[in-house]
């Protein structure tokens, strides 16, 4: 197989692995954060405003890790720099 095919295969597999592993850890982290926040709100309903605001900020922080993985996956699939390089080079 020529290099273009290899680049395609490796890019798709890499983006799939990146998205899969990159979604697991933030999902666990967000689950833990929401669980703690819910039990805190159940114990102290008066503090619901402060707790949920902090929860939103924390969720945004955690979620940005998953978003990094998503951006890298999307770049690998739709705007792959290695692929463009190999296509632009004459003869693959």
């Amino acid at each position: 197989m020529d290099s273009t095919t290899w680049i395609g295969i490796v890019s798709i597999c890499a983006s799939a692995i990146c998205m899969a592993i990159g979604a697991i850890a933030p999902a666990l982290g967000e689950a833990k954060a929401i669980q703690q926040a819910l039990s805190s709100i159940a114990q102290q309903p008066d503090e619901a405003g402060a707790i949920s605001r902090t929860l939103f900020i924390g969720l945004a922080m955690i979620e940005s890790i998953a978003i990094y993985c998503l951006v890298i996956s999307i770049i690998l699939i739709f705007a792959n720099p290695f692929w463009s390089h190999a296509i632009a080079k004459p003869g693959g």
């Binding site: 945004a60 990094y68 770049i75």
Partner: protein
Amino acid sequence: MEITPDHIVLFQWNGFHLNATIAYTWAVMALLVALSWLATRGIRLEGPRSRWQNVMEAVVLAIRGQVREVSGGAGGDGCLPFIGALFLFIAVSNELHAVPGWHAPTGSLSTTAALALCVAFSVPIYGIRKAGLKHYLSHYLSPVFFMFPIHMISEISRTIALAVRLFGNIMSGSMVVALLLVIAPLFFPVLIQALDLIIGLIQAYIFAILAMVYIAAAVRNEDETQPEQSS
């Protein structure tokens, strides 16, 4: 497939490219300015208020309430115009996603990087305004001087995180809709677009609140190191 509206050139003249990001940013700015001008035209303190003024007062009061909650008191009112502008710009440009043919300017990394740079530069500005240049810079060397690179890395990484978070959320939203249009047209894209509207509003809120948290942290640092200035 376009992953950023930067590549869509709407107008070209003598090497000057007007891409979709700039055009739609101008559209959002024009919309916001026109709405504010209409609302503040007949503004008054006494007597019956116009409906426009009521709406604008509700918006400003809601933003001020959030800013005060984060900054802990009325001390954060100095950055209310900045935070409010950030929130309104991002929220309007995300929510106009419901308009057909709209490319949200926040779906471009250029726009979000510019917004994040605004936040990155406004943090030292507000910190220095609160406690002076020397005291602000001294917090970079606390607790010991070799923590300086760590402080710098934290400032840079949180700026990049701000930009990439907003860009990733908005760009992935429009991209998922485009993919679903190919796979399952007619019904599912509408649901996902409704979800995108919520996500857009939440991201605008998170961007503004994070900017406020960073500014409040810089200002609060000065309070701890300089207790006599806080009174």
